[in-house]
């Protein structure tokens, strides 16, 4: 079905956008490196391929006049998802261009901001590219060479978005969300449980809340137990006396 294909493709684009954002945040800081620049480049290219694929699919679906109203509403919702993803990508690409220009890697007098992040972003990029391990094969001066390509790609994305705005007549504000407030809590229950084990993040947040919750359960169980005991004792006493 066209809808399911669209959804999977949108999910993929969404994943790549999220990973790209994580990578751009690491730019300019101490976790910046040649590898990061290469990861950015690869993620970007993947995002663009996905974007083009999504666009052709969705425009084909929306142009079809013979679909039902519900279908059309669904496609419009998917279209809004797609355009929001593209906007996020667009902003991230422009920012990465700016920060990349401000923080060239090879200049010895220019220092990276010491933010405290030192790890590499290989795993994030691997997630974006859906591979197990990332291979690095770029030249030493990727940071300057890549920027020109990035400029052209940004221009392409801008043009694509303009075309989309012109050609597809979808009113984004008319779309109603399917998820309600707090929907993100539901499907991440499994993820949430595993994060309980993570240490409390900054000194402010007391660890006791995590332990406090389990402690509370214990106290509650204890209270119920004593109440049951008391009732049993009273009943026994009454039985004996009567």
């Amino acid at each position: 079905m066209g809808k399911d294909e669209c959804k999977t493709m949108l999910d993929a684009l969404n994943k790549v956008t999220a990973c790209y954002r994580h990578l751009v945040i690491a730019l300019g800081s101490t976790s910046d490196s040649q590898n990061l620049r290469e990861e950015l480049k690869k993620t970007r290219k993947k995002a663009q391929e996905l974007a083009v694929a999504n666009r052709t699919k969705l425009t084909a679906l929306l142009k079809d006049k013979s679909i039902s109203k519900d279908d059309r509403a669904e496609y419009e919702r998917l279209w809004v998802l797609f355009t929001s993803s593209m906007e996020l990508l667009d902003v991230d690409m422009k920012r990465s261009l700016e920060i990349g220009q401000d923080f060239p890697l090879k200049v010895p007098t220019r220092h990276l901001i010491q933010t405290g992040m030192t790890g590499s972003t290989t795993t994030v990029a691997a997630r974006a590219m859906s591979v197990q391990n990332m291979k690095y094969e770029a030249d030493a001066n990727i940071d300057t060479v890549d920027l020109k390509e990035l400029e052209t790609e940004i221009a392409q994305v801008d043009q694509m978005m303009e075309e989309m705005e012109m050609k597809v007549q979808v009113a984004p504000w008319a779309v109603e969300a399917k998820q309600e407030a707090g929907a993100e809590l539901k499907s991440t229950v499994s993820v949430g449980n595993s994060s309980v084990g993570v240490i409390s993040i900054c000194e402010e947040e007391p660890k006791e809340t995590v332990e406090g919750e389990t402690g509370l359960m214990k106290v509650f169980a204890g209270i119920i137990f004593t109440v049951v005991l008391l009732i049993a004792g009273i009943l026994g006493y009454l039985v004996i006396n009567l």
Binding site: V80, L88, R95, H111, E165, E176, G192
Partner: protein, 454 residues
């Protein structure tokens, strides 16, 4: 598609935010391992994070005066979000004790050209919701509910993106995850301050227009300047001085503003300064201007203009004679009151005069009008004649009538001067003017020549 136009304009025209670029340079200098700020490693329970700073102020300066300056600079950097505190993260100040701070990553620096989007904030709140399992702080919860209402059409995207970003974040190592969470939290404390705190990013209302650019003179601009100039003169908006005759039945206002009154009111004189048209349309103003031109011996322009007006509005039967008269007096070579217009206009006018009609002198009249406006009007406003008139102008006191007085005024109502009388007065004035002494330089010169010959 988000509607991006409005916010973007506002962000660009914020001259106060030009300081951000300078702060960025300072922050970059601070990174220098030799001359910058010293850092240390922080030990958390399971892991250790490098690059936490104790900003000991005595490292930065060596004088008591500079201490205050350094602290102010430091507080500003924290308030803008270039450095964030680790303990007490909601109060963005630089404390002079051993509290710890960390540098913010360039992506999260405040930037003039990147407006802070509500979509991003919604994604952040959703991520926080996941992490805290629904226990958001009160103001965050309120913001979350608001955003759910206002950005509802993107809500699916926000939820999807939040989940994905959360999962992608988990791919990084533990210390980096901790740092990233701190960074994001600090960023949003700066840009969406909790209630009761002061934000350094507060720049007042968004501006739609660049305040440094020259305003484009559209019809809106002209309408605005007109209303601001004429605001005081509008009898609907401001009280008429001394009193509105229609309301109080007291005709002082009309007698003071008669066409040929000796001393005009201050409001009337102010009106003449607004534009040349106002000056000419007011008979008293025109008389004043005529007086000024007489002193300068260049009255022929005004006389020509008046004659053209007479031709335009006059009766049809007298048109031919009037046109001939004007030609003889003003336009012909060697005429007694010759006006100075350029050759092309003169050609057109003379050709048109062969078959005169009402508007035959329009081109010449416009030329003379512009000449007077650009040249004589400016000089008139600075002249002693005008200054004298301004000084003598009266500013009548507003009337304060009681009920009985108003009734008496109503009883004493009389019709005004008959228009026939007014017309006669005008004619008398014109005759007087014509009979007065030489007004133009040509007349003066011809008089002098005659005297010499005699």
């Amino acid at each position: 598609m988000t509607i991006r136009n409005v916010r973007d304009h506002g962000q660009r025209y914020r001259p106060r935010m030009a300081c951000l670029k300078k702060v960025e340079n300072v922050v970059l200098e601070m990174q220098d391992p030799k001359s910058g700020v010293k850092s240390q490693t922080q030990r958390l329970v399971i892991t250790s994070i490098p690059h936490k700073y104790i900003l000991v102020l005595c490292n930065l300066m060596w004088d008591a005066v500079l201490l205050i300056w350094a602290r102010a600079m430091g507080t500003m950097m924290v308030a803008f979000g270039y450095i964030y505190p680790l303990q007490d993260h909601k109060r963005l100040i630089l404390k002079p004790d051993t509290s710890l701070y960390r540098f913010q990553t360039p992506y999260f620096w405040p930037a003039q050209q990147w407006p802070v989007e509500d979509t991003d904030y919604a994604i952040y709140l959703a991520k926080r919701n996941i992490r805290k399992k629904g226990m958001l702080e009160l103001y965050e919860q309120e913001q979350y509910n608001n955003l759910y209402k206002w950005v509802n059409h993107k809500w699916d995207f926000i939820v999807m993106q939040a989940k994905e970003q959360y999962r992608a974040g988990k791919e990084r190592k533990k210390p980096d995850r901790v740092v990233f969470d701190c960074q994001e939290r600090a960023y949003w404390v700066v840009h969406r301050p909790p209630p009761g705190t002061v934000s350094a990013m507060d720049y007042g209302h968004d501006r739609m227009v660049d305040p440094n650019m020259e305003e484009k003179k559209t019809s809106d601009y002209y309408r605005r300047t007109y209303t601001t100039t004429y605001k005081e003169h509008d009898p609907f908006l401001h009280a008429c001085l001394p009193s509105n005759p229609w309301l109080t039945d007291d005709v002082t206002y009309w007698t003071l503003n008669m066409p040929n009154v000796e001393t005009p009111t201050k409001m009337r004189v102010e009106c003449w300064t607004f534009s040349f048209g106002e000056l000419l349309m007011d008979p008293r103003g025109r008389a004043d201007f005529r007086l000024f031109l007489k002193k300068e011996f260049s009255g022929e322009n005004l006389a020509f203009w008046e004659a053209c007006e007479d031709l335009k509005w006059g009766a049809a039967e007298t048109m031919k004679e009037k046109a001939q008269q004007i030609y003889k007096t003003f336009l012909a070579r060697g005429a007694p009151r010759w006006i100075n217009i350029d050759g092309k206009t003169m050609d057109i006018t003379v050709k048109g005069l062969a078959h005169p009609h009402r508007y035959v002198l329009d081109a010449a009249q416009t030329h003379i009008y512009m000449l007077m406006k650009k040249d004589s009007y400016g000089r008139y406003l600075k002249s002693p004649v005008f200054k004298e008139t301004q000084r003598k102008a009266i500013a009548p006191e507003p009337h304060r009538f009681t009920e009985t007085q108003l009734e008496q005024n109503a009883k004493r109502r009389r019709p005004s001067l008959s228009p026939i009388t007014l017309r006669q007065q005008e004619e008398e004035q014109k005759a007087k003017l014509a009979a007065s002494g030489p007004v133009d330089i040509t007349q003066v010169m011809s008089k002098l020549e005659k005297k010499q010959k005699a």
